[in-house]
Point group: C2
Chain length 179, copies 2
DNA sequence: TTCTCCATGTAATTCGTTACATGATTGT
DNA sequence: ACAATCATGTAACGAATTACATGGAGAA
């Protein structure tokens, strides 16, 4: 039940149309909760039916016309309720770890190349996050909002750092040099 | 498409019935690919229909009777193929990070207690993994299989370490002492 | 006999993904 | 006029979650 709340958060930050939301989900919020335009349109319809958001009055409402949404007080209340509610952490589910475990049974042939590729992808993502940190979070920011957004970005940076280090160590441990 | 391959791996390690698999998915393999008994039974049926596994001949095949499965050569081949195939890393998707982002908009009321709870849960999981490491991976193990299983466990340990540290730092950053 | 596990399933729903469809706007 | 792009959707499917159903075996 996270997607509707991701959308409510995005719309509170700035009222938007479906496609604008889709673009914003390719960065920012999408860094920790991705979504496609099909999911977003479906969810916008649901949220509107349930009275959490409404479409801003448009001159000519028609298919193919831009439709902007804003959050209603009920939507904000629901988001506050959900944010405060306790939730268990999801158990880890990672195909790459599963593949290594399988490789212990059927052999490691062909997996090293993909480990190196993952290492490269995580390094790139890390660099991107660090760019954002440098740009958007100069030292000396103090508001609670800034601090919250910063710790979230920190999670992204630390996670990518973990993956990169772990992949480096694992490649070495398995006797595969780093090219 | 990971669940069938998780099951093939588990069955290669040791032929099992559905319920035995379910129990093993509560530990070991389940630490990085969890599954419920409903998923497992459905997938066992599919794998059998497709000729990847077969039920061992039982004295009295009937509902409510234990049914053991073993992997056929086709199943092993499919697992080897999947293990070697390239796969993109899944984008991060974490409800807790989303809630912090939402809290930047609707306020932090009620979220600190859950952050502390998550910290506690991650510390417990970390302790459990470290127990396993001490028990199953004494220094001096050398086979490729052991090393592979060890780096997988290492990923679990490092991930839990990351979450615990990140939660400690975030609670502090948000001005909430660690009680 | 009834209760409690063990063991194997079915059913309904939701969420995410992939592919496709349609209208409006802008540039050439 | 045509193509490309913007924008909003539909349809179909697969995977995961939740709840429920059925049967067998042993203990009180």
């Amino acid at each position: 039940m996270s997607l509707p709340h991701a959308i409510l958060t995005a719309l509170l930050e700035k009222p938007s149309s479906g496609l604008e939301l889709t673009r914003r989900f390719d960065k920012s919020i999408g860094y920790f909760w991705s979504a496609t335009h099909q999911q977003i349109y479906r969810e916008l319809g649901r949220l509107e039916r349930e009275g959490y958001i409404r479409a801003l009055p448009a001159p000519t409402p028609a298919r193919g016309q831009k439709k902007e949404y804003e959050v209603l007080p009920e939507g904000r209340a629901e988001l506050a309720r959900w944010t405060a509610a306790s939730q268990d952490p999801k158990p880890l589910r990672d195909p790459l770890l599963l593949r290594l475990r399988a490789a212990a049974v059927v052999g490691t042939d062909g997996i090293e190349a993909d480990l190196r590729r993952h290492l490269d992808l995580h390094r790139r993502q890390l660099a991107e996050y660090e760019e954002i940190e440098k740009r958007d979070f100069p030292p000396g920011l103090d508001s609670v909002e800034d601090r919250l957004q910063h710790v979230v970005l920190r999670a992204g940076i630390d996670l990518e750092t973990f993956w990169a280090r772990w992949l480096e160590q694992s490649l070495e441990e398995l006797g595969l040099d780093l090219s």
